[in-house]
Symmetry: C2
Subunit: 199 residues, 2 copies
DNA sequence: GCGCGCCTGCCAAACGCTTGCTCGGGCGGA
DNA sequence: TCCGCCCGAGCAAGCGTTTGGCAGGCGCGC
């Protein structure tokens, strides 16, 4: 099937994907039109189809690159034998990865239903399952070794934490009020210790 | 100007708003078409304009009702003199309100940029400011009275917490794995104490 | 109690516009 | 001469919205 148009290793193509990603990150995938992407590149909308066979191909490229990156970080973090250290590595890895893939995150947040319903994007569900399993494993291990609270619900905690991690990326550049490090430190502190003062 | 079409106190109109809200909650505001709303009501798309002068009017009705509800809960919660109790009341009030207005939340999450850019929806920014102020006030009070950690950043913590609260509503009915009470209890526990076990 | 006007609720058929996408052709560098 | 890259023009489909009209019920004057 490939290359229908331009080979994937074209520099021009990668540049266009990057431009489209900026727009997707701001407005979401469906809300961004191919004409806007073309305008950003200084060409006409029809000319985009010399490089991609559809708008979804651009989204596919961004999403698959993102998930590959996320999973690589998770797999490495999961090698740590200490659950607390593993979770901290997962958090820091996630934050770093997300800041590199703001477009993909916005797409997943806004148009998850749209993508996950299509067979083409079936890898989204697969990847999500692995992400969940990684979290649940570490949380369960930490609970069983007495490191975490005994009444901790690993799956519920994962669901909360995963979505929490995705949040700061949305406002990472709107106001430069906090640096990435400040955010992740504040988050880790909240996660491990809560907001209550300890004597 | 009003009533251009049907009076606001019409029962039929309220029913249509409710139907549209269900669709908005699932697909977002912009992704839902007036034809889909009409189909759900068993009428033609044009007939909707006998009740509303635009699609945005339906959104307006849902959003303003939501924010009125949220602010009422926050104002009542803020009367508590104990910061920890006030925050717990804010959290519980938010959870209850959000479960009653899933459509509005989805609309704000997916199409915030779209709405907040329009003068018609200027009250969104106003309400958000009051919400932020309520959170920051309570967090600051708690920190100054030694109840919360001295190194707590009220604004950063607010930004995290506000978005965290909005999360569970998104998956409140996808899987009935947890009840609303379980979620809010888990959230409060996480918020106050973190995940670490205490001797 | 009957006709009349009015109101609510909806239909049928479009309108102007935007969407993602197609296709033949041209241009410049290798 | 080829090939990567783009133009110019346009298509079908879908979008929110408008318009004119019709059916039925309710109240009011006579």
């Amino acid at each position: 099937m490939w290359p229908v148009t331009t080979p994937k290793n074209s520099g021009r193509r990668a540049h266009l994907v990057s431009l489209a990603g900026d727009l997707f990150a701001e407005k979401g995938f469906r809300a961004t039109t191919v004409r806007e992407i073309a305008d950003a590149a200084g060409i006409l909308s029809g000319s985009l189809y010399h490089h991609f066979d559809s708008k979804e191909s651009i989204g596919d490229e961004l999403l698959s690159a993102f998930l590959d990156d996320v999973l690589a970080g998770y797999r490495e973090a999961a090698t740590d034998t200490d659950p607390r250290a593993a979770i901290e590595r997962i958090v820091r890895s996630s934050t770093a990865t997300l800041s590199r893939h703001r477009a993909a995150l916005t797409m997943l947040q806004n148009d998850w239903a749209y993508f996950s319903a299509q067979p083409r994007f079936g890898y989204l569900r697969t990847a999500m399952k692995e992400i969940e399993q990684t979290w649940v494993d570490q949380l369960t291990r930490g609970r069983e070794t007495g490191l975490f609270r005994a009444d901790l619900d690993p799956r519920l905690t994962y669901r909360l934490l995963r979505d929490i991690l995705w949040i700061p990326t949305s406002w990472s550049q709107s106001k430069g009020a906090w640096t990435n490090d400040e955010i992740v430190d504040g988050l880790l502190r909240l996660l491990f210790d809560g907001i209550t003062a300890r004597p």
